[in-house]
């Protein structure tokens, strides 16, 4: 896949399962929009399969996962598996929320980056997304 420089970055923000904490997800959506990205927020109660489909149909560059239950490693595993199934593993996956520190290496190994905790300044997340998209 050829990455066009300066193209508008498309991001889908998704919440998988029954976690209701959506402050982070909604604020991130507004902030990424203001930073010039195209943002889709799926809302709560999604399945990994459905989120992967949205990401593929919408042609996004990045899937941003948000979760506050401590279950990110299970959620991310589901997404990666779904992307593999559709052979779309070039979509980058980043994560944020309440992520146990000991799970971060596990997530990184899966290719899930960022793994931002609460209170992370938004410019750090924006920069991370841009870098990952540019790297291809």
């Amino acid at each position: 896949m050829i990455v066009q420089r300066n193209k508008i970055i498309r991001v889908v923000i998704g919440k998988i399962g029954c976690d209701i904490h959506e402050r982070g997800a909604t604020l991130l959506a507004l902030t990424l929009r203001d930073a010039g990205m195209e943002v889709i927020y799926t809302g709560r109660y999604q399945t990994p399969e459905a989120l992967a489909k949205v990401a593929i149909d919408e042609g996004v560059d990045v899937i941003a996962l948000s979760d506050h239950t401590g279950s990110m490693r299970y959620i991310a595993a589901g997404i990666i598996e779904a992307l593999k199934k559709y052979q779309m593993n070039d979509i980058r996956v980043i994560a944020g929320g309440l992520i146990p520190k000991k799970d971060i290496p596990i997530l990184e190994k899966m290719g899930v980056t960022g793994n931002f905790g609460p209170g992370t300044p938004f410019h750090v997340i924006i920069e991370h997304i841009r870098t990952r998209v540019e790297k291809g």
Binding site: G17, C18, I20, R23, T26, T69, G78, P118, G119
Partner: protein, 566 residues
């Protein structure tokens, strides 16, 4: 002697760390000092009165905490029934006086653990209490009569099922359900604006809420079947003034419906408890409780026709702010929670569920829970704080601030009425927009340095070994193995229960729902037959013509499809 050389990296500023704000968290501008002129329009008997006297600004009991401390309560809900049961026993031994129950997120959503959307949140936030047998294990050996049980769940289906589990347990043991004590949040507004609970659309949620109040008043008179909740709307973004208006608006709307549609009087319903938030702004929080009691007394009397002291005097149950707790330098959370508890006691509340210092990281671990109780014991026995009722009553500042919050909340209540009332404001999305606006304002204040949070956007510093230890000891989410075991357990239950009993009980739930009868008794009987959360939610939805699964992912089980046809 060698010359002193100044380290160039050190810049000393006598004024560093100074105040950046001249308003409360809710944005009320504050003067440097208050004096008698600020409270000259207050009439003692009319606006304050002694504790135990209308309008209860100073507290609802004449002797306040001398006779009766606040209930020390907190949510106890771990991944398994056995673990939760043991934790309750340990905490009771350490001084817990109210039992607050919760469930994991899928169960609160109205789905069973074997639903495809359950896996990723299963056993997170608590036990998967999908049927009565989980309650039998969770409460084994614990008293059921005359203990305060608080149901803290998000959805109306949870309010309905878990109340039914408690009643079913008592009836199965031959106990009198008239001795069931405690409260049920049962708030369809919070279920919608905060949680977007998919279990029931608003029409069913509203009906379930009213059925629970009606059944509760008639059958479990010591139980408070309804506790409008301001905690979660505020945690989602509302400020203090919005919280007060929201919770009073919700109470007025629901009680208005109950009086009009079910022929009950507020006096029959008895005491009302509001579940409220304790945020970090110390004086604003104290003033809020005083203002809310006074406003409720007047609304109950003037708008809802209450005549008894019990109906006019508001109980306030607290959950201290989880949102205020930070993952950065979690040791600091001890200071936050302690101040919040103190503001509750100075504000005369009736029960406290204090958050734990590791709560921003995971579910509370045992030691911090005990620390939590000990903080309250220290405030009581060492700091001697509860000796005097309403110790800040008469303070120029606190009385002025109490009035100010009242004024702001009445203004919002007027606006709600103007917009067609609470139900209309729910349907139009206006209530949700209130949350979003405030949420965004707080975020902007934080990013521009107008609101400082220690460790987050100010005073970041390094974390030391104590903070790291807190991070390591907080309770972790359950493993894959436990999740698989939970799925196996529900499958086993479905196979082994008395199928005929489940069928006829669920059929009765379906028919009662369809025919507009009160559904609580049929749900209790379904609970006794070990019907599950997902099944009860499903048949109620189907009786209204909705699909079985709230998330639209699974098809209706064959036996349920049959019983809803026949």
């Amino acid at each position: 002697m060698s010359a002193r050389i100044l380290d160039k990296n050190i810049t000393f500023d006598r004024y560093s760390g100074g105040m950046v704000r001249s308003e409360t968290q809710a944005g009320i501008p504050i003067k440097v000092v208050y004096d008698p002129k600020d409270i000259e329009h207050i009439e003692y008997k009319r606006d304050l009165a002694d504790p135990g006297q209308y309008p209860y600004t100073r507290g609802i009991y004449p002797e306040m905490y001398r006779n009766k401390l606040w209930i020390k309560s907190f949510i106890v809900s771990y991944s398994t029934a056995e673990e939760t049961n043991q934790a309750f026993k340990d905490y009771i031994a350490a001084g817990q006086t109210g039992l607050r129950l919760n469930a994991d997120l899928p169960t609160q959503t109205g789905i069973d653990p074997d639903h495809p959307s359950a896996w990723n949140s299963m056993l997170c936030g608590g036990i998967s209490s999908y049927s009565l047998d989980t309650y039998e294990k969770m409460l084994a050996g614990l008293p059921l009569e005359n203990v305060d049980y608080e149901l803290a769940h998000s959805s109306i289906s949870s309010a309905l099922l878990f109340y039914s589990f408690l009643v079913a347990l008592m009836e199965k043991q031959g106990l009198s359900i008239a001795n069931l004590r405690g409260s049920n949040i049962n708030d369809p507004f919070r279920a919608n604006i905060v949680y977007a609970c998919p279990d029931f659309p608003t029409e069913i949620a509203r009906r379930g809420c009213l059925d629970l109040i009606e059944f509760g008043v008639k059958n479990t008179p010591k139980w408070k079947p309804y506790a409008p909740n301001g905690v979660d709307p505020q945690q989602s973004g509302m400020n203090t003034i919005q919280e007060v208006a929201e919770v009073l608006g919700v109470a007025t709307a629901i009680y208005g419906d109950i009086i009009r549609e079910r022929g009950l009087k507020l006096d029959d319903i008895g005491a009302t408890v509001f579940s409220m938030d304790a945020e970090s702004d110390f004086f604003e929080t104290i003033a809020k409780f005083r203002a809310t009691r006074r406003m409720w007394a007047r609304i109950a009397k003037e708008k809802l026709g209450a005549t008894t002291e019990r109906a006019m005097s508001l109980r306030i149950g607290i959950r201290t702010s989880g949102l205020s707790l930070q993952t950065q330098k979690p040791l600091n959370n001890a200071a936050r929670v302690t101040l919040q508890i103190l503001s509750c006691i100075l504000g005369g509340v009736n029960s406290i569920d204090a958050s734990s210092i590791d709560e921003a990281i995971g579910l509370p671990s045992r030691e911090v829970r005990i620390f939590n109780l000990d903080t309250q014991h220290i405030i009581t026995h060492e700091a001697n704080v509860p000796l005097v009722a309403d110790p800040l009553g008469g303070s120029y500042y606190v009385e002025w601030l109490t009035n100010k919050i009242e004024e702001g909340a009445y203004k919002l209540l007027d606006e709600i009425e103007h917009r067609g009332g609470m139900w209309a404001c729910l349907e139009s999305g206006w209530l949700r927009s209130q949350i979003e606006e405030s949420r965004f304002k707080v975020q902007q204040e934080m990013s521009t340095g107008k609101r400082l949070v220690v460790g987050v956007n100010a005073f970041q510093g390094e974390e030391g070994p104590i903070s790291r230890a807190i991070e390591h000891t907080s309770y972790r989410v359950p493993s894959k193995k436990l999740r698989l075991q939970t799925i196996a357990a529900i499958k086993k239950l479905r196979k082994e229960r008395n199928q005929q009993m489940v069928r006829s009980a669920l059929k009765e739930v379906y028919q009662a729902t369809k025919e507009g009868r009160n559904i609580v008794r049929p749900v209790i009987e379904a609970a006794k037959a070990y019907a599950t959360m997902g099944e009860v939610v499903g048949v109620i939805r189907m009786a209204y013509g909705y699909g079985y699964d709230p998330l639209g992912q699974i098809s209706v089980p064959i036996f349920i499809d049959e019983l809803t046809r026949g």
